[in-house]
């Protein structure tokens, strides 16, 4: 009896629910019920459904028929998808390297609280408040040879002499898309890194400086190692986001020229809504899902 009292007393002191509420399981469930319904119906069920769909011939209209493992077997002879895998990996590698370098540079430039720094932080982040679709359309107009301002500016400066094919060749289309992504996401990643930079105690820098460390030494020996968890988080977000790229290629390059900028998710979309093959699209989704969850787990283990 005494023991129970002491225990419950201690639990209350640690912030566990008081006895009055502990019995009210039903009430707890009632408050949690909307969450449970949303998560159950709109997340768990689709997760099961996508696996089931991938085992069936599932046309956009008409009845489904079990055909496992045809949808998976056909992935191997889907040249568009195999090309898209290679392209998306290339895009992810380039984007992640450039995006993290630019974001780190911006974060270092605005990390100290000085007058005016707030303006620059906001300026760099502001493109991140614009939706990605709107940003892609903005660049679509800005880089248009007849309408956009960039071509005339480059010509006036004598840098180019004829219209630049911004999305006219595979390499330029990739280059322009990466410019769009850097503009839209650099500030967002800068903000992530700023939270990490601000968590490094000032004393550590002071100690290093009094030991005679130069700026470069401080950066490589102190800032980078202490920033590692934040950098890891940014890398994971950037890799995941890039592997799932869709909007930029659908809106800005439309997969072109000659299907050279078709990303993996674009193939899923095409299979489902242009080839009306939902089963095939589901199989691709399952492959992507397993691949990404595995990659995330791997990255978290290696980087953290």
């Amino acid at each position: 009896m005494t023991l129970t009292l002491t225990r419950s007393g201690r639990r209350a002191a640690h912030g566990a629910p008081p006895a009055r509420w502990r019995g009210k399981k039903v009430q707890g469930w009632l408050y949690a019920a909307p969450t449970a319904v949303i998560v159950g119906v709109l997340f768990v069920v689709p997760l099961v459904l996508v696996v089931w769909m991938s085992l069936n011939r599932w046309p956009l209209l008409g009845p489904a028929r079990f055909n496992a493992p045809d949808n998976y077997a056909r992935i191997a002879d889907n040249p568009l998808f195999l090309d898209a895998v290679l392209f998306t990996l290339k895009y992810t590698a380039i984007t992640t390297v450039l995006l993290s370098s630019v974001a780190l540079g911006l974060a270092l430039l605005v990390q100290e609280r000085r007058p005016g720094v707030g303006f620059f932080r906001t300026a760099f982040f502001l493109p991140g408040a614009v939706g990605f679709a709107a940003a892609a359309l903005l660049f679509y107009g800005m880089l248009n040879n007849d309408f956009g301002p960039i071509d005339p500016m480059l010509r006036a400066l004598g840098i180019t002499h004829e219209p630049v094919k911004w999305i006219g060749t595979p390499n330029m289309a990739l280059f322009s898309t990466i410019a769009l992504v850097l503009w839209r996401f650099a500030g967002f990643n800068m903000l992530i890194l700023l939270t990490g930079l601000q968590a490094i105690p000032v004393e550590v820098y002071e100690a290093a400086r009094s030991d005679g460390a130069g700026r470069w030494q401080i950066f490589t020996r102190i800032t980078l190692p202490l920033l590692r968890p934040t950098l890891a988080l940014m890398l994971i977000l950037s890799v995941t986001g890039s592997l799932l790229a869709f909007d930029q290629f659908f809106i800005f390059t439309n997969g072109g020229p000659d299907n050279s900028t078709v990303s993996m998710v674009m193939v899923v979309y095409r299979d489902a809504f242009f080839r009306f093959d939902l089963g095939g699209a589901a199989a691709l989704s399952v492959v992507l899902l397993v691949g990404l969850v595995g990659l995330n787990a791997l990255m978290m283990r290696r980087l953290r």
Binding site: I38, M53, L109, V130, G131, I251, S285
Partner: protein, 254 residues
Amino acid sequence: MTRALTLSALAVLFLFPLVWSGWASLEDPSNYLEMARFGEGLGTYATNSVLVSAMTVAGTLVVSALGGYAFARFDFPGKNLLFLATLAILMVPYATILIPLYVLLGFIGLQNSLVGLSLVFVMFQLPFALFMMRNAFEAIPRELEEAALVDGCGTFRAFSRILLHAVRPALVTVGLFAFLASWNDFFAPLILLNDGSSFTLPVAVVSMTQRTFGAIDYGMLQAGVMVMAVPCLVLFIVLQRHYVRGFMSGALRG
């Protein structure tokens, strides 16, 4: 000095596209008139977007406030499982469950429906929102609601009369993130809506670039960009503090 120059040059680089788009759209005000007449008309698309955003924000706030309270203050069977399942939404790539969601919404009669789309947005917002709200409720001293309970309030009255006021900053943050996500998202409405009259702004404006006949009207396109971007820019500047706070405490750790 070099630092100031670098910063200024970068700020110009980052702000230039926004300034140009605004200028290009306003250069000829008829761009906006053209835009208003495009397809089903700007009124239809803007109304759809506002409806979807409003339903998403309201739905996310209600579900995550109730759920956050449950997770902060009650013990119930399946609590940990439900929390983990909610956080797992973050692990699963967004794009991969939209195809089954399209089929599922067809089963329950919510395909091509703004309500269905909003429910999907609420689901995608839940991991962040629930995490934020749970932390906000946990930060409230228990004495506050115990006093109310002693005074004879039920838990729901304590919740709605007292606790909701105390977590207002978290509600603003959750609402802001829900608005930005639902107002701007392109992929989910592209897949889940298939009738022009139910399109939201991003899908409608993108369709301006994909006309088979006639040239693309770039001025009208930038007017569309501005209609989508300006509300977000204004909200972001006004609520910047809330954005950054949510970013630090929830978006990152989630």
